[in-house]
Symmetry: C2
Subunit: 303 residues, 2 copies
């Protein structure tokens, strides 16, 4: 299937992504094949609070990328409720206007609860999009809590989308958002307070600067495509700032992190199996005859 | 140290909790000793949105328990920012009015980021509080996202604290909160909309009832201790409803889950060590010569 993906077959790509997402038979060899066929693209993460306008900005950036002759992959990660198991946003129809454009490919993926998270399927999906030749690839999240960090970890350049009034939030939470952004977009900038929010962000960035890249803060009205060129330019500037060496450094760290996640996931499956066949020790724990932590050490020592 | 804890030495208890929290030398044997000395208490979880008044209600419930001659342990879990590594709330002084009361013991514990979470230290701390003879034990969280679920998993009875206007939120998120609550407190009930929120909750509970316990919905003004007796009575009724058999069932499932978490945590450490000494395979992954997922399978197969 991967040669078809490489040659531009969109239906093959969709099938491959489904195999990755559902962990179907053959996923391992397909992943390895996709990796071998992939050329790393510029991965742009888009995160921020719900309602900030991330989807609209993503849509506008896709249009801008197309205007510049680039083909664009979009991976939209919907958070899955830890309670209901269903994606909050479901299969909303996204970015309708690009639907007939062969140079754009959009895929939604549910993040699977607490520990699965983006851990395996999403990074592998990005590799498949790279095998299909898309560059850049936009990774968007609905962004509640941890997912933001995970998306940031998948991207070379992270756009944080905020809105006027954001400066009123909790200081610590703000610090966290500031840490992950390479480019800041103050969206809905036609609303009151945009200028104050821009200066708030700049002031906070000036206090806690990291390295020699000063993240640009751009005002946008994504619904009218205002400021989108500026965001694009800021993203491109960040990529140029990283250079091939900086990009390769990020990719290398990312691959190592993916290896770590995959090893942990393998062990997690082993742990589940271990407890399923745990016999007497597990029975002792359930009955309260042995504490769970001593029991865990025994099971691990016997492995 | 555990005999001292059992005999009521509060400083010994504080030291033991620090050993658990910081994973200090000797933690394993202390945990096993505490477990052997502990009699399970009624564990009451208190969760809900930030600002709903959980701390105030916890404080009022402590006073109510004391009026009834019970000794009370409180474990307050502060979420730790995944970004900054520091607890958002820091070492705020909590429940000052109980500070001279030997029958009350309050401990704050930072939840450690993404995967550590409440996974080891908090369940072990609850065992230590049980060894010290406290009953009930209140487990309160500042409650953002996943922590709510984790706290619910630690409790026999879960109180969900909401405020008027809660009914206006996102449907899916509401369903999640409804699933974990055994008792609902609509706090700040002197504000407009309390009655509507009560009927909203009741209507939603009626749609998705689980088993034969119908969670009571109580209105409170925790700052004035209004409705606190009713919450206490509802919590007691839930405990009576569970009975010893029901409680033991919950405890048994909890111990099994704790075993599972501890085994996974052990494997996680093994995974980290494996990658630290991973040699050629890790180098291949970092350089992009081998995909991380194939590499993970090789490392796991060689283990």
């Amino acid at each position: 299937m991967i040669p078809a993906v490489v040659s531009g077959d969109r239906r093959a790509l969709a099938r491959v992504l489904s195999v990755f997402e559902d962990r179907r038979e053959g996923v391992d060899s397909l992943v390895a094949e996709a990796f071998a066929a992939a050329t790393p693209a510029h991965r742009i993460g888009i995160t921020g609070a719900p309602g900030a306008g991330k989807s609209t900005l993503t849509d506008a950036l896709v249009a801008e990328a197309r205007r510049r002759g680039r083909t664009v992959g979009v991976l939209a990660v919907d958070p899955t409720s830890p309670f209901s198991g269903g994606a909050i946003l479901g299969d909303r129809v996204r970015m309708q206007r690009h639907v007939l454009d062969e140079g754009v490919f959009v895929r939604s993926m549910a993040s699977r609860g607490h520990l699965g998270g983006l851990s395996l399927a999403a990074p592998q999906a990005l590799v498949a999009l790279e095998a299909a030749g898309f560059d850049p690839i936009l990774v968007e999240t609905v962004g509640v809590g941890q997912d933001e960090v995970e998306v940031a970890a998948q991207a070379d350049t992270v756009i944080v989308v905020l809105t006027p009034g954001w400066g009123d939030g909790v200081q610590a939470a703000k610090a966290g958002v500031l840490e992950i952004g390479d480019v800041f977009a103050v969206n809905k900038a036609d609303r009151p307070g945009a200028a104050e929010t821009v200066s708030d962000i700049k002031a906070m960035l000036a206090m806690g600067h990291r390295g020699d890249w000063v993240p640009p803060v751009v005002t946008t009205v994504a619904t009218e495509a205002t400021g989108v060129v500026e965001v694009w330019d800021a993203v491109t500037a960040h990529r140029d700032h990283l250079g091939e060496a900086g990009l390769e450094e990020r990719r290398s760290a990312r691959r190592r992190a993916e290896l770590s996640t995959a090893v942990v996931e393998g062990f997690r499956q082993r742990a589940a199996a271990m407890i399923d066949v745990g016999g007497e020790v597990v029975a002792d724990v359930e009955a309260g005859r042995m504490d769970p932590w001593t029991a865990a050490r025994r099971l691990l020592a016997a492995d």
